[in-house]
Symmetry: C2
Subunit: 183 residues, 2 copies
């Protein structure tokens, strides 16, 4: 694959976004390249196309590997490793969510839990503890909910997303039905 202005702008942007999405520029660019390339690419291809060092590519691929976002393939009579993006777009989104949950939610939840186990030493701490409790409960709810959403099939998730705020109506409806059933 050759770098064209279109491909370059996509790759660049993914690089910039990378840092917002939890990985660094290079990692973002490498992944972008792999996603839009029909053929697997070698580490050298990637280094050349992005104009970055071979070592940097190796580290980036290592990270993408740990996120399970790339896979390695080989070719007959060629010792090089070739890299390919892995799974569907949904899989990729799932991985990113999961990884972010691990980085952004889990450590916080664990600290908040610890704090709540402490005895408040004075009224300030008692107030703080109460607020911390609220934050903990909210984060825990969100975490559990997103986890359960991820266990839903892509089709169900799609239905749910298409429903948009209409999901409110479905909930009302369910309540009514449950009430009737209790008669």
């Amino acid at each position: 694959m050759r770098m064209t202005p279109m491909i370059e702008s996509f790759v660049c942007h993914f690089g910039e976004m990378g840092s917002r999405w939890g990985f660094n520029r290079t990692v973002g660019q490498i992944y972008a390249l792999l996603v839009i390339s029909e053929q697997p690419l070698s580490a050298n291809d990637i280094a050349d196309m992005l104009g970055i060092s071979r070592g940097n590519v190796s580290m980036g691929l290592k990270e993408l590997h740990s996120w399970q976002l790339v896979q390695t393939t080989h070719r007959q009579g060629d010792r090089k490793d070739y890299y390919q993006s892995r799974g569907s777009i949904w899989d990729m989104a799932n991985r990113v969510f999961e990884e972010r949950r691990k980085r952004e939610m889990d450590p916080t939840l664990s600290l908040l839990r610890d704090i709540m186990l402490d005895e408040a030493a004075n009224p300030d701490e008692a107030f703080a503890q109460q607020r911390i409790g609220e934050i903990h409960d909210l984060l825990e709810n969100i975490t559990e909910w997103t986890q359960s959403l991820q266990s839903l099939s892509p089709e169900k998730l799609n239905t749910l997303m298409k429903l948009g705020s209409g999901v409110g109506k479905v909930l009302d409806f369910k309540d009514k039905f449950m009430a009737k059933k209790a008669d």
Copy 2:
């Protein structure tokens, strides 16, 4: 409020998390302090408690203000500005989501849209464009959906979250009902 080990560990952690959540360490710490403080704090209080410069506090508060996460109050016969966290925990979570959407999704969606309007110059670009289209559609779905969720009342959202993956059953049920109604 005095710094105690409990309060300090909470504040420190929020600082570290800050960078993952889209704001820098100082901003995270300032916000943490304001959230768990029952009384509003002056900029000097904050600088002293966190051991950082007055200028840094000013910049941090400015950013929190732009996120609409703090509000300024005053006291009779006192010229100082006092700062307070704003809104409920839900409001805070909403703000963070919204801000992140603005930073992480909107620019990407807009770039992807632009790319899709271009004419593919060769087969590589045609393939790339197709993948980019998939990514665009997924991101757009997620964006619209999260927006519509945010417009739901906190109670409805809570019901929905409590439902967890049980939401799948409710969807099935709704389908069945719709089918019957069509008879």
